[in-house]
């Protein structure tokens, strides 16, 4: 592969993708927060939803978490892999997760394609995103099968390359030697990052974190009126504290 293409795909593309993703996501949240939703389709079909969505999400989350851990702590991973048994265990477990994600996602696609109601809530763009994701997961599984012990070579070859990007001192020497399948996997990942804000992938950001610590009930008071502002301010705060169940939002 000629060098300029590597430069384009492994250096220019990731930076462009990150910029597009960050700026696009902030803009979408700021200007079109109404459009940020999971667009759930469980309402139309319940059974296949479970058998598709659950393995897909759990599998993809495990695999993604492993990618992040491998990137953050490469030396730790290499030390863990020093004992073959542990290497095999990690490799098999993550491959299983990847395959679960792939199979689950195929169920998701079949479910969407087979049901007339679900077709109504699936756009052409949704199918494009779906195709990209299927390709990405399939590539990942293929890499794991064809080029085994990825948990070691990722830490040795890919992590340094990614860190060089983070340090704004890109070094593609290690990454350029990656096999074609693995390179495609990396490039497709950048593409997915770039389309993130323009697709239903944004639902990833809707984690229910405030639910874990907020009080059950939410009460919203009107903005304090100028006339009665003084009358309301003090007691409203007090009541929020008194009624443990309720909170003034």
């Amino acid at each position: 592969m000629p060098f300029p293409l590597d430069l384009l795909l492994l250096v220019v593309l990731p930076y462009a993708a990150i910029v597009v993703c960050v700026v696009g996501t902030i803009e979408r949240y700021r200007r079109h927060s109404f459009s940020v939703t999971s667009l759930s389709s469980q309402f139309f079909e319940n059974r296949r939803h479970f058998w598709g969505i659950m393995p897909f999400h759990l599998g993809i989350l495990a695999v993604l978490a492993a990618h992040v851990a491998w990137f953050l702590f490469p030396s730790l991973v290499l030390r863990w892999n020093a004992r073959p048994v542990r290497l095999y265990a990690a490799e098999v477990a993550l491959l299983a997760c990847g395959i679960a994600a792939l199979l689950g996602f195929l169920v998701v696609g079949f479910r969407r394609g087979a049901d007339a109601r679900l077709q109504r809530v699936t756009s052409a763009w949704d199918w494009c995103v779906y195709a990209l994701l299927v390709a990405q997961i399939a590539l990942g599984v293929a890499v794991a099968l064809r080029h085994t012990w990825g948990s070691s070579w990722f830490a040795a070859a890919v992590a340094p390359y990614l860190w060089s990007l983070v340090r704004l001192n890109p070094d593609t020497t290690a990454a350029a030697t990656l096999p074609l399948l693995a390179k495609a996997h990396v490039v497709l990942a950048y593409l997915l990052v770039a389309i993130f804000p323009f697709s239903r992938l944004v639902h990833v950001l809707a984690v229910p974190n405030p639910y874990l610590w907020r009080r059950p009930q939410v009460v919203r008071w009107p903005p304090p009126s100028r006339v009665r502002a003084t009358a309301r301010q003090a007691p409203a705060d007090e009541t929020a504290r008194q009624a443990g169940h309720h909170v003034g939002a």
Binding site: S35, R200, V219, R226
Partner: protein, 495 residues
């Protein structure tokens, strides 16, 4: 004492004629949109019956509402832990099939059909897929099917009856039904609000209307699962949940909500209740037997100077306190104790109250003459074709005493008016019945007036929203430029 105000409602079931005008008024105003076709923020059900969505009262199936009673109070459908385990797939979510697939008719076919031997017909087509469908259920599918084994027979509340009572209820001569209009209860302890992972649902502090912030909703649909009345709906097109908004744009302008305004039978009353927010949690935790009483005890007397002063300190406007004093809801619920919450055992402390219906008694036949005269003065209550136990399941959380009390008072008012108008009942008998029903002639007169002669102004006491004091006046109007109220950008479905 933390006094807040709530716009509450009374539905007088004895007057409901089941015309569905309320539902249609609401549908025309709010849910005639893509993704909302199947929603009925207001619907009218036939009882006994399975309702909308099918069997919504069966919380074994839907896991709505709260469970508690022995000091604990937790949502049946979700919790901090389960919000994570059910994050991708909620196990107790109703699907469209539990409601119905909305449809229209292919009217164009009537004009475009090829010439043939038969009349062309307009076939039903799904409003979701646009394809022809076989209509298998609809919004009032069990309308008036009181004796049907398929619909009425499946009513979860019939569990309160013995096998013999059930058999009698479904005997062909005894078949009976009444109507139950339902919209969002705008509860004091709303399960939908407590379940929302995004914190998009909230209760308005000033009037207690429960709303969904459409900008913050992320389509978890936890509200749909958590609401035991199944009055939060998922808009499959916009990917947002929606619910009854108590017509707040109308209410803020002093008008009653559209369903109230449209009610032909004049069964709906709306007015302010002042309640003690500090005791909400305690009331929701009350033991099963004392739920109705605990619920009612939250409501405060607006004529009590201490209550009015505490309300005023909390920022409740004087006009709202004044409206609370004239509230028809306060009279029915607290003064006369004739209106009861629907399924108080769900522990959401609903703010719609129902006056239970007087049901027809079984007539007896003597020598070819049909005799409908009940033997005792209150015997109509026990001789009604639907046992009180059934009504107790709906309106008394299983306890028949509050239901009997409400029915006895209605009956006493009837005897009293009969003595006054028809004159075939002795005045002394009428007085005696009133005393037994814990009432008086003055009260009976007032009940009669608010039940039978009520004008618009008596039924709907909606305080002004005091827009003149609203903070918008202090804000830069150019902030809102291009908006009006509502969305700054059109509410389009996301990518």
């Amino acid at each position: 004492m933390d006094v807040r105000s709530q716009l509450a409602s009374v539905f007088h079931l004895d007057k409901c004629l089941g015309c569905h005008t309320c539902s249609v008024a609401c549908k025309n105003l709010w849910t005639d949109r893509t993704g909302a076709e199947y929603m009925w923020w207001n619907n009218v059900e036939t009882k006994p019956g399975t309702g909308f969505p099918t069997l919504w009262e069966d919380q074994q199936r839907y896991r709505g509402g709260w469970e508690g009673g022995n000091g604990r109070l937790r949502l049946k459908s979700t919790s901090r832990r389960r919000i994570l385990t059910n994050i991708f797939h909620h196990p107790h979510m109703p699907t469209l099939d539990e409601y119905y697939e909305p449809w229209t008719y292919d009217y164009a076919h009537l004009f475009t059909a090829k010439r043939g031997p038969d009349q062309p017909v307009a076939r039903p087509v799904s409003r979701i897929t646009g394809k022809p469908i076989d209509v298998e259920s609809g919004p009032n599918w069990d309308d008036d099917l009181g004796g049907s084994p398929v619909y009425a027979g499946q009513d979860p509340n019939l569990a309160a009856l013995t096998a013999r009572e059930r058999a009698e209820l479904f005997a062909i001569e005894r078949m009976v039904f009444f109507y139950l209009p339902r919209n969002c209860n705008h509860c004091l302890n709303p399960a939908c609000v407590a379940a929302c992972p995004s914190g998009a649902l909230y209760k308005r502090g000033e009037d207690g209307i429960v709303l969904i912030d459409q900008q913050r909703c992320r389509a978890w649909r936890a509200c749909v699962a958590a609401c035991p009345y199944k009055k939060a709906f998922y808009n499959w097109h916009s990917g947002k949940s929606e619910k009854c908004i108590y017509c707040f744009p109308r209410v803020e302008n002093g008008q009653a909500p559209a369903c109230f305004h449209a009610c032909v039978g004049r069964i709906r009353y709306t007015g302010v209740l002042l309640y003690d927010a500090a005791r909400i949690e305690a009331a929701a935790r009350a033991p099963d037997g004392g739920l109705a009483e605990a619920h009612r005890s939250l409501i405060l007397d607006p004529s009590d100077p201490a209550v009015a002063e505490a309300a005023s300190r909390n920022g409740v406007a004087d006009s709202t306190i004044d409206a609370a004093r004239r509230s028809p809801v306060y009279r029915f619920v607290k003064e006369w104790r004739m209106a009861l919450p629907l399924h108080a055992e769900f522990r959401t402390l609903p703010m719609v109250f129902y006056v239970p219906p007087m049901l027809p008694v079984l007539s007896t036949s003597h020598d070819g003459l049909v005799d409908q005269t009940p033997s005792g003065l209150f015997s109509a209550i026990d001789q009604a074709r639907v046992p009180v136990k059934y009504l107790a399941r709906l309106f008394g959380a299983g306890d028949d005493r509050p239901v009997r009390y409400a029915l006895a008072k209605q009956k006493a008012v009837r005897w009293y008016r009969r003595a006054r108008v028809v004159g075939d009942v002795d005045d002394a008998v009428a007085e005696c019945v009133l005393t037994e029903a814990d009432s008086s002639s003055e009260e009976a007169e007032a009940i009669y007036r608010l039940t039978a002669l009520c004008t618009f102004e008596e039924r709907f006491v909606v305080p002004p929203a005091h827009r003149e004091e609203a903070a918008e006046l202090a804000r830069d109007p150019l902030d809102q430029k291009g908006g009006g109220f509502g969305f700054m950008a059109p509410p389009r479905r996301g990518l």
